[in-house]
Amino acid sequence: MNNPPPTLPTPAAAYGAQARAWNWRRALSPTGNTGDAVFRAVLFGCALVVLLLVGAMIAAMAANSRLSLREFGFGFLTSSEWNPVTGRFGALPFIYGTVVSSLLALLISVPLSLGVAVFLVEQAPRRLSRPITFLVELLAAIPSVVYGLWGIFVLAPLLRQYVEPPLQKWFGWMPFFQGPITGIGLFTGGIILAIMITPIISAVVRDVLAAVPVTQREAALALGATRWETTRVVLANGGPGIAGAIILGLGRAIGETMAVTMVIGNRAQISASLFEPSYTIASVIANEFTEATEAIYLSALVELGLILFLVTFIINAAARLLVWSVTRATSGTARA
């Protein structure tokens, strides 16, 4: 990707004594052209700004959450109390809401995304796969708040009337489907998230499957494999990349704020029922930072932000590495 600029094989004599002395222009640009040197410096500066921004964010959040970190320590993660009046803050209900809504989203989205990706790569004729790919990617471009509105006015009433009652009727013996049916809660939040992360998971899985060499498919077919059996070989080849795509989707689900805030109910509680309202880390920050007048209150919110930042950062890094391990390795050997 990032080819080093070609070094010219010029005889040392041509440079004379000047070449041996340190030269800032030549240090920046081996071709020794002033314009190139400036150009390089500007580009490097742009890249540096991004890194500095990330560093500054971590530093600022760490500094602003010091109060809360010192006050509550590790107990912040295990306490369920969130009381601005008494000044006691614990993150557990938010962590629970975030984790459960994200996992629910994955549970729904992963099979759907795999189906979309396999169809696009293995089955669909080109004139069909192009428009479908385009539409799926368009889903990712819809603003989060629009998803939220649709969630409140369309999805929530739909679930309340047609989905949640039968679920309760047949699976009500499980604690997940007990409690009052309102259409607003973890269940709706999970479904909204599932719709929102499907484009990214299916797009990445599609790239991963497309990177699996044709020779693998032919090997299976030549042994008398059916389309289904061949697809399983392809999926096995793309294993780590698919895992990466799923984790990438998870990262997106965990950080998603607006749409979830609008449908999840925003109540800091831990309940086994998916129909009950819940709260996520991102939602509580968005909802409460304007009300946080106390220093400790604000500090607790910033600490939540720090947790969210670190978790999504690690998840995304891991996911990218997994995806690269597949797309890079296989596309490399396919050309060799």
Binding site: A219, G224, A236, N237
Partner: protein, 270 residues
């Protein structure tokens, strides 16, 4: 340049039809979209013999090989006319079970393509998906048999559970042959199986081919004319999508009937 005379039956055809034909091709034309890649190919492939396809790059020999197990079906926009008979049964007949055809006509590819699984699981793959064994002992026996037939058993017998991707290039190719043999195909197609291998690995593959023809009908595409001369009983020469000459290998390389064949074999073009 010498044009093969249109419509004329390639010389030496009669010689190869005497043995019982395992595969019989009649007037096969093949198209990639609007481009015709094969022109009126008619050819008999005798049972338990090795037939080699030679010809310059792009002459259609690989395309022809892939019509024999309908592997070209996977490429969109391709079309074939004519007949390919396997034991007298038309493999292009509508409603024919392609999956079953490919089990009977195995294939080894130019570039070794083991699955990212263990050595054992690679060879067992075809047996498992086709449900050819009923119990574990039988499966193990068939895998061992296939690895022995592919002359790779001594090298892998102590590492069956390790990844196939850890083998050398030549070993991987013999593993792929073992994988193809495990399902006991009737015909084995080999598309330049040794072109990516060093001379020693190539020699092993060639010895293997000679050994395998006791049990299998083998069709091999090769760019290496010495290889065709060493391993095959019958050689077919393709040129620009047409079958120029089919003849006993010995005759083909000493005294071919066609001037074009002679020019190619002696290196005057191609």
């Amino acid at each position: 340049m010498i044009e093969p005379r249109a419509g004329e039956q390639p010389a030496g055809q009669a010689r190869t039809t005497t043995a019982q034909a395992k595969v019989s091709v009649r007037d096969l034309n093949f198209f990639y979209g609007a481009t015709q890649a094969l022109f009126n190919i008619s050819l008999q492939i005798a049972e338990r013999r090795v037939m080699a396809f030679i010809g310059p790059s792009g002459c259609g020999k690989s395309t022809f090989l892939r019509t024999l197990n309908r592997m070209n079906d996977t490429i969109p926009g391709t079309r074939a006319t004519g007949e390919v008979l396997l034991d007298g049964e038309d493999t292009y007949a509508p409603g024919l079970n392609v999956v079953n055809l490919r089990r009977r006509v195995g294939m080894v590819f130019q570039k070794s393509n083991p699955f990212p699984k263990s050595i054992f699981d690679n060879v067992a793959y075809g047996l498992r998906i086709n449900r050819l064994t009923t119990n574990k002992t039988e499966l193990q026996d068939r895998v061992q048999q296939a690895l022995e037939d592919a002359a790779i058993w001594p090298e892998v017998k102590d590492r069956l559970k390790t990844s196939a991707l850890g083998l050398s290039g030549g070993q991987q190719q013999r593993l792929c042959i073992a994988r193809a043999l495990a399902v006991r195909p009737e015909v084995l197609l080999m598309d330049e199986p040794a072109s990516a291998l060093d001379p020693i690995a190539t020699q092993k593959i060639e010895e293997l081919i000679v050994e395998l023809k006791r049990q299998y009908t083998i069709v091999i595409v090769t760019h290496n004319m010495q290889q065709a001369a060493r391993v095959s009983d019958v050689t077919a020469f393709f040129w620009l999508g047409k079958l120029v000459e089919v003849n006993a290998t010995e005759k083909m390389f000493t005294n071919p009937n066609e001037k074009l064949t002679e020019d190619y074999i002696t290196g005057r073009f191609g």
